[in-house]
Symmetry: C2
Subunit: 330 residues, 2 copies
């Protein structure tokens, strides 16, 4: 294993430290709790918080700032953050409007956010929790009861946080978050396993000519293992599953995300996007806005996922609201 | 070799097709010439064009749009674009103010841009060419006479294109581009070789415990091959070389880019940034703005580079001018 790290056990904390150093005007952190929070807190609005195991960056710590998350709570690599840290993040960011927890559907995250919600309640902090389960690949996988939450969750962060910024109340945000989740579908495939720093070896075996279709972002098994196929066939496979699941229909308007899992060149993501666009065109589905890049990764896994959100007019407006987060280009 | 491609010989054209499909409001292309150009051309200003071999995305095709490049010309993977295509891009974008070519210093690119400039001259199109050679690692490397141009070139694109947008004339832009290049220094290291699609195998051998210090973005040899070291020691090595070369001094103000070479997780880039920030602080150098992500890659190479630009007041203003390019986050 070769990585740009010091000690594996320090990797997450040093990453957070680097993120804060790179964005001193936008974010700050409570290192011992692995909380990253927006520097200019607005306590008149509902606070929106997410959290998960680390290793999916830029999700989630890159999404803290004005117009996006008020705080995120990072766990160790691929392991849920503690209820205690989530509770601290809620105390730090909550005003009178309460806190919305947006959580990807994994058993560990569910449990910790649920405990944190109880701690908040005892403290008089009103919370609501919305789970994201956008991955159409499998149900009841490793670490999950029901469907998994993957990259499509980021559509929810953007839309819901923009609405929170406008002063919407907690119930309105819950309804919006559930509507976004209900209209989001994702699926991915991987070419390689990632190598977590502390483990130092791949978390699953995959041959040089094999593809895992429907991979999870922690390397959980997908639907099937197949021999390598050209990009167009791989993309056709996952996008067909996505389209049929909602289902998306002609004249629907969508946001599209082609997401790299960490080690995939930008060149390949645009080749993938080309086929996605061709399929959407053929289905009469209109693309409102598209995103091509690394958004929710699995460390150094090669592969990609596709996420579609069926938009309504409110979501379209909220998707374009300005944000101030660490992921600026210039 | 497993990649998200169809036929290797179609990879670059399909990538361009995907980029245009993802950004129909911003860019268009001339596929047979591999030209990507800004859709809303402004012929009253100097046109700014760059080009290089493909495989470094998002550099350069992600940087086309308002406030950035008017056109880019993509070659095959790691091979210069043709003079003919560069000339076509100039004809397409040039008004009366002429064209600025901004080119990274490689022998092949120099030759093609030089020929294109001659073709433009015969056609009455005024051109100037500025070379970037920010890499402090080596001189007279494979494909290069003098120093190589790597990721720091992107600072030049941003600053010079913002000035062009304001209506500056060709001579002013040349002087600014040379001033930015003179104040930019970069160096990188790699953990792995990339695998070009058409080759299908690594372009150099490197052991599981080895690091190439001073790597080129086409896999050209660096200064030395060493055993793996912790992130802080690797970063210290390259940043020390960068700082001593200009040299950067206490109270200088800089823009900092920590650039992933394609397969490096965001987590590792922030760990790297943390050490860069620590060294700049220790040297009394002030960071005006920082960029952490994949900007100028080498396909699926693991590793990173660091670039510093010593800023003056004009550069600071230009760096923050708004842009409209394919690399939006939301």
């Amino acid at each position: 294993m070769k990585k740009i790290i010091n000690r594996a056990e320090d990797a997450v904390n040093e990453m957070i430290s680097g993120l804060v150093a790179a964005n001193p005007e936008l974010v700050d952190s409570i290192p011992e709790k692995r909380i990253v929070y927006r520097k200019q807190l607005n306590k008149k609005k509902v606070a929106v918080i997410t959290g998960s195991g680390s290793g999916h960056e830029p999700d989630q710590l890159g999404f803290v700032g004005k117009g996006m998350m008020d705080a995120i709570v990072a766990g160790p690599v691929f392991a849920a953050p503690t209820a205690d840290a989530i509770y601290e993040a809620a105390k730090l960011t909550a005003g009178n409007q309460g806190v919305l927890f947006m959580v990807k559907n994994y058993t560990g995250d569910r449990a910790q956010f649920s405990m944190a919600a109880e701690m908040c309640e005892m403290d008089g902090i009103k919370t609501k929790t919305v789970m994201t389960d956008d991955d159409v690949a499998v149900k009841d996988s490793t670490y999950t009861a029901g469907r998994r939450g993957i990259c499509g969750a980021i559509f929810g962060y953007k839309v819901v946080c923009a609405k929170a910024e406008q002063g919407a109340d907690l119930e309105t945000l819950v309804a919006l978050a559930e509507r976004v989740n209900a209209n989001t579908r994702s699926m991915g495939f991987s070419l390689t396993s990632c190598i977590p720093p502390a483990k130092g070896t791949p978390i699953f075996e995959i041959e040089d000519d094999e593809i895992e279709i429907g991979i999870g972002i922690h390397g959980e098994p997908g639907r099937e293992r197949m021999k390598w196929q050209p990009a167009d066939i791989l993309i056709e496979n996952i996008v067909k599953n996505i389209l049929e699941d909602l289902p998306f229909r002609a004249s629907d308007e969508v946001a599209v995300m082609v997401n790299g899992l960490g080690a995939t060149p930008t060149m390949e993501l645009y080749i993938a996007y080309r086929k996605v666009a061709e399929m959407l065109d053929a289905a009469g589905i209109k693309t409102f806005r598209s995103y091509v890049g690394n958004y929710c990764t699995s460390l150094d896994m090669a592969g990609c996922s596709v996420s579609l959100l069926k938009l309504d007019e409110e979501m379209k407006t909220l998707l374009l609201e300005p944000i101030e987060i660490p992921l600026h280009i210039f």
